[in-house]
């Protein structure tokens, strides 16, 4: 945040966003790009640039008062961007939720009478067709996720240390628990972790949906 501005602000303004981009260091810049590369697998994004640029746009849209993803100024810019990209890559879960949440808010009532009536929130109730389309989209997303998970597992099948990491993560084990369970040193764990991330980047280097 600029020193000459209101220090009580919680969220970034356009000059904050522009300044953060200009001040993004070498390593943080590479980190956000690497994060985008690691995240596009199984997503709707064709390449890491598309995902990174979308996160920046959402940030700036919120900064100018449009619908977007506001950047809380107490979070480091690169950490915010990585978090935002993770949300975007996790598909349209948010938009699906928002659409249904709005519909859920439009509650039905009967027997309205003259002035003792309704307020400001109103909407067309969701039709059976809409509900079926949503369910089908959910099913398709789940099938796509299943294929992507299988692809990742197959890709690392000949790397036992990485496979251990994957199995541990899917079993919701902590790093320490994974090391203990698979008898790994910290160095072996770190090395497998790096190999996994780099391997994932290469696996989806040509697009998220492949």
């Amino acid at each position: 945040m600029r020193a000459d501005e209101d220090t009580d602000r919680k969220y970034a303004t356009p000059p904050d966003v522009q300044a953060a981009i200009e001040q993004l260091g070498l390593s943080p810049a590479h980190k956000v790009y690497r994060a985008a590369r690691a995240l596009i697998g199984g997503s709707e994004y064709r390449d890491p640039w598309e995902l990174l640029n979308e996160a920046v746009k959402r940030c700036m849209q919120a900064a100018v008062g449009q619908q977007g993803r506001p950047w809380p100024l107490d979070v480091a810019f690169e950490a915010y961007l990585i978090q935002s990209m993770e949300g975007l890559a996790s598909d349209s879960r948010d938009s699906w939720y928002q659409r249904n949440h709005v519909e859920a808010e439009a509650l039905a009532i009967e027997g309205q009478s003259d002035d003792e009536v309704f307020g400001a929130v109103h909407s067309h109730a969701s039709s059976v067709e809409d509900t079926l389309i949503d369910a089908e989209q959910q099913r398709q997303r789940e099938c796509a996720a299943e294929a992507t998970v299988a692809k990742i597992k197959v890709h690392f099948a000949d790397k036992p240390a990485v496979t251990n990491l994957i199995d541990g993560k899917l079993a919701e084990l902590s790093a320490a628990e994974v090391r203990e369970m698979f008898d790994m040193t910290q160095t072996q764990y770190d090395s497998a972790h790096r190999a996994y991330r780099r391997g994932l980047e290469k696996l989806f280097a040509n697009g998220g949906k492949q």
């Binding site: 966003v17 522009q18 981009i21 200009e22 993004l24 260091g25 070498l26 390593s27 810049a29 590479h30 980190k31 790009y33 994060a35 690691a38 995240l39 199984g42 990174l52 640029n53 979308e54 920046v56 940030c59 700036m60 849209q61 100018v64 449009q66 993770e86 890559a89 996790s90 598909d91 439009a106 509650l107 009532i109 309205q112 002035d115 003792e116 009536v117 309704f118 307020g119 400001a120 109103h122 909407s123 067309h124 109730a125 959910q138 789940e142 099938c143 996720a145 299943e146 992507t148 998970v149 990742i152 994957i166 993560k169 899917l170 919701e172 972790h193 790096r194 996994y196 991330r197 994932l200």
Partner: protein, 137 residues
């Protein structure tokens, strides 16, 4: 198939990769860039440049929108000019609710509705296409 089982697994696998990105040292990032034949500083500038352009595109769009601020106001004024008297608005709204059972409203407990409440509801129903202003007016 368990509901969202694989989507949850995929999210966990993405998280695993992100944990390594966040922990990566500059030496590791430089090493990876070198392996890929990428100049570390030059590519960082390419990344910033792409982000700069993405941010600028939002500002350009906003600027273009700001140049036409009167459009929604004019539309609103046109709608207001077409409004029938208040009693007819109330009648028309009740008719729409009888005719369109899919339309639902949130309830404001027993409070009196102001004239502007009725008018804004009438405008919204016209905007939604549920009510045509000249149906009987």
């Amino acid at each position: 198939m368990t509901k969202r089982k694989y989507a949850t697994e995929l999210a966990a696998l993405r998280q695993l990769a992100l944990e390594d990105v966040v922990q990566a040292s500059e030496a590791d990032l430089r090493g990876q860039a070198q392996e890929e034949g990428v100049d570390f500083a030059e590519f960082a500038e390419t990344i910033r440049s792409s982000m700069r352009e993405a941010a600028a595109s939002v500002l350009r769009e906003q600027l273009a929108q700001d140049k036409t601020p009167l459009a929604p106001i004019r539309a609103s004024l046109r709608l207001a000019a077409k409004r029938p008297p208040l009693e007819r608005i109330k009648e028309a709204i009740r008719e729409v609710f009888v005719r369109e059972p899919k339309l639902r409203m949130a309830f404001r407990d027993g409070k009196q509705q102001s004239q502007s409440d009725w008018e804004s509801l009438y405008d919204d129903l016209v905007s939604l296409g549920a009510l045509t202003p000249d149906e009987r007016d």
